[in-house]
């Protein structure tokens, strides 16, 4: 079967943009992706759009042109962007369409995400008692992981230090100032063992990707960036997820492990074939746990990886080359697509100061979120 290719990419810088709605930022990204692909809006045959808190994506047709285009909204929590991309890919794979758009954008209020028990099928007392807090879950999860696998607090700090250092070279990143390890470690605690530099913040931003059949991509004359795999999975029994009043003693796998295994199988490659990876890092420990869950190392080996710089841009496997969520923030609808955007930049060799050396051919992206969903893509040039 012929591959689906990514022929155009666009991004509105992440962070805080006063005066621009989330939708505005989505439209900005779409226009940039059209220009990048060298096509006009009327050529787009269909679209999937994801947003969690910034309105219905399909309303952007008023801004882009009332061409009658088929436009489907996707609302799937942290996997919204990944789901939009998956759906776009499937529509082209089916043979029904040749050129489509996957777009994601968001704009969240400042401060931690404010979840309500009723949205998660939980009793009211659970929220009243102060448990509807994502950072609490992240703190408890990494505390257990560090205990079981010998990960130090310094390793958490190294992940954040790397994120801010990489982001200096990413024009779309939010926090582009380096922060030294000691400052990261000595900063006020948010949810132990994490300090304020070890959590990403809700943010704003928009990303658009234009996908084409291989035939169409060749017509457009773009370098062929092939979407070899796009897999999305929900959680298996015994996983540890956010907002859990109790968890099973018998521990199980994770949505990430399932999505990762499916993606590697679809693409016909293994972790050793990946040259650059974007892994969900809403907090520093997430990147560490996800290195193992996605098969790039064993549990506990991250300690040596980080001490030796193996996940730095010049290392064995550069991870989060644009600073990830830690430096870009997390606009939910756009976050997973940002990872794919960054991978296309890397495979085209356009990363500038953050370019992974050695002419990377294969790139991996991974998103994870509530209530236990994960989406993985593998791109190949």
């Amino acid at each position: 079967m012929s591959d689906v290719c990514i022929v155009g990419i666009g991004i509105h810088p992440f962070g805080r943009t006063e005066g621009l709605s989330g939708l505005d930022q989505g439209v900005f990204a779409v226009r940039q992706s059209l220009a990048d692909a060298g096509v006009e809006w009327p050529a787009i045959e269909f679209a999937y759009g994801g947003s969690d808190a910034a309105g219905n994506p399909d309303t952007m047709v008023e801004r882009l042109g009332l061409t009658g285009v088929q436009f489907i909204n996707v609302r799937n929590g942290c996997a919204a962007g990944g789901s939009a991309l998956f759906s776009t890919q499937m529509a082209i794979k089916s043979g029904e369409f040749d050129l489509g758009l996957a777009v994601g954008f968001d704009k969240h209020p400042r401060g931690a995400f404010n979840a309500l028990p009723s949205e998660y099928n939980l009793p009211e007392w659970y929220g009243e008692a102060g448990y509807m807090i994502t950072t609490q879950f992240f703190g408890a999860k990494i505390t257990r992981y560090m205990h079981e696998h010998g990960i130090s607090k310094t390793s958490l700090g190294r992940v954040s230090e790397k994120a801010f250092r990489n982001a200096i070279h990413a024009p779309h990143a939010w926090r582009r100032e380096p922060v030294d390890l000691q400052t990261i470690m000595d900063a006020p605690l948010v949810s132990d063992p994490y300090t304020k530099f070890m959590f990403c913040s809700p943010a704003e931003g928009g990303v658009a990707l234009i996908l084409a059949s291989e035939k169409k991509a060749r017509e457009l004359g773009k370098p062929l960036i092939r979407l070899k795999a796009a897999a999305m999975r929900t959680r298996p029994p015994g996983s540890f997820e956010v907002f859990a009043p109790s968890i099973d003693i018998a521990r199980g796998g994770s949505a990430t492990k399932l999505a990762s295994a499916a993606a590697f199988e679809q693409a016909g490659v293994g972790p050793e074939d990946i040259a650059v990876a974007q892994l969900q890092d809403t907090e520093a420990g997430a990147e560490i746990m996800h290195m193992a869950e996605n098969g790039f190392c064993r549990d506990g080996e991250q300690e040596a990886w980080l001490a030796e710089g193996r996940s730095e841009i010049g290392g064995t496997l550069p991870v989060n080359t644009d600073g990830g969520c830690l430096a870009c923030g997390e606009p939910i609808g756009a976050s997973g697509l940002r990872q794919v955007y960054e991978n296309v930049v890397q495979l085209r060799g356009h990363g500038g100061g953050r370019q992974a050396p050695g002419d990377p051919k294969t790139a991996y992206s991974h998103v994870y979120g509530a209530p236990g969903v994960s989406a993985v893509t593998i791109l190949q040039r």
Binding site: G111, A112, N114, L116, P117, P123, E124, W125, G127, E128, A129, G130, Y131, M132, I133, Q136, G139, A140, K141, T143, R144, H147, P188, L189, V190, S191, D192, P193, A244, P245, S246, I247, D248, I249
Partner: protein, 148 residues
């Protein structure tokens, strides 16, 4: 033993009326136990007792060991948080009740720096707002034998 009922669960302690944050969380015995649920088909035990027919009420053991923990350092947003405006950090943990399940709960009676995975713990109750006239009580775990 009554597990769920219409009786008033409030208790008088130190002259103050203390009411559980929700009905159906604790057994009506002294000392109370948490009411979990046991899946009628698989035997899986969860907390709290879920609505519906799939689970039967199952009072959980009161003793366990700390499985993991963190400290909540900032005041959660209201709603849904119903704790006092004046915020002081509190510890929250997951406590393994052997053979049953791992329950999320406040940790009480132990300094933050002394909290350690594996430490033995026992069920207790703490007021959501220690300064309230008639505080609502939430479940917590603390060192065995320590007064709530």
């Amino acid at each position: 033993m009554p597990l769920k009922g219409t009786q008033d669960f409030s208790r008088i302690r130190n002259g103050r009326t203390m009411r559980p944050i929700a009905q159906g969380l604790f057994t009506d015995e002294m000392p109370p136990r948490l009411i979990g649920g046991r899946n009628r088909a698989t035997g899986r035990i969860v907390f709290p007792f879920p609505p519906g027919d799939e689970f039967e009420p199952y009072p959980l053991r009161r003793d366990g060991r700390l499985w993991s923990f963190t400290v909540q350092r900032y005041r959660p947003k209201s709603p849904p948080y119903a704790g006092p405006e004046g915020f002081r950090p509190w510890a929250v943990g997951y406590v393994e009740l052997p053979g049953e399940t791992i329950v999320e709960a406040r940790l009480s009676g132990v300094a933050f720096e002394n909290i350690a995975i594996g430490m033995p713990l026992e069920l207790t109750q703490v007021p959501l707002d220690p300064t309230a006239e008639e505080p609502v009580m939430i479940h917590a775990f603390g060192p065995p034998g320590a007064a709530a």
